[in-house]
């Protein structure tokens, strides 16, 4: 069965930093990326450091998977973003995972993971860090 992933900025940057973004394609994952994540990557890419190069690389890989949130998901994201520890990218990513149903959410921001855990359980969205991709690749 194809693994379906909605990927947050932090996980994309982590994968880019270790030059493993190609795993997402090589393993045949079905991907979706929220518009706020694309915006965050553009903002990061506009600087001039290691992270900006990673963000640029992530953009090249995933920009084509940008997926719009429907009205219900936008409403959900606007409620999630006021929760402590959650940014717009994480809020939209979780809302998109809920919208698409049976997609898992990939996130590496430790603070956000804690903030998301309870809501994600309620929405029946599985959360995983980017290391999940490495484990799946190994298996």
């Amino acid at each position: 069965m194809t693994t379906r992933l909605v990927v947050d900025t932090s996980a994309l940057v982590s994968l880019a930093l270790v030059d493993c973004l190609d795993l997402l394609d090589a393993l045949g994952y079905e991907l979706a990326v929220a518009p706020a994540v694309i915006q965050e990557l553009h903002q990061m890419a506009s600087r001039s450091d290691t992270l900006s190069r990673a963000a640029e690389s992530a953009l090249q890989t995933v920009a084509k998977f940008e997926t719009a949130l429907d009205e219900a998901a936008q409403d959900l994201a606007s409620q999630l973003v006021v929760l402590p520890r959650l940014g717009q990218g994480e809020a939209e990513t979780l809302a998109l995972a809920a919208q698409l149903n049976s997609f898992e959410m990939l996130v590496d921001d430790v603070r956000a993971m804690g903030g998301l855990a309870g809501v994600a359980r309620t929405l029946e969205v599985n959360i995983a860090p980017s290391s999940y991709v490495f484990v799946k690749a190994y298996l």
């Binding site: 069965m1 995983a128 999940y132």
Partner: protein, 88 residues
């Protein structure tokens, strides 16, 4: 003052006005504090210290976040192994 430590850099983030009156001892303490927190997180991830010890080292809120993230990571690995076993 926010301190970020990576393998090759130490980044201090602070308001420009504070830079004028920066106390070298305060920088030293901030950097050492961050290194201690990072070491505590690493030792917790390796199972060398307890949740309570982690809480003492990094504070209640940060410890809760780290503990939750570790549980999410463990669950995701179990899920990946479950998927693999189901495929076999």
């Amino acid at each position: 003052m926010d301190v970020s430590v990576t393998r090759s850099t130490i980044i201090l983030e602070l308001p420009r006005q504070e830079f004028e009156t920066l106390d070298p001892q305060a920088i030293r303490q901030s950097v050492l504090g961050e290194l201690r927190r990072m070491a505590a997180v690493q030792r917790y991830a390796q199972g060398k210290i307890s949740k309570r010890e982690l809480m003492t080292a990094v504070g209640v809120e940060a410890a809760q976040e780290i503990i939750e993230a570790r549980e999410i990571t463990a669950t995701s690995i179990e899920r990946a192994i479950g998927d693999y076993q189901a495929r076999r």
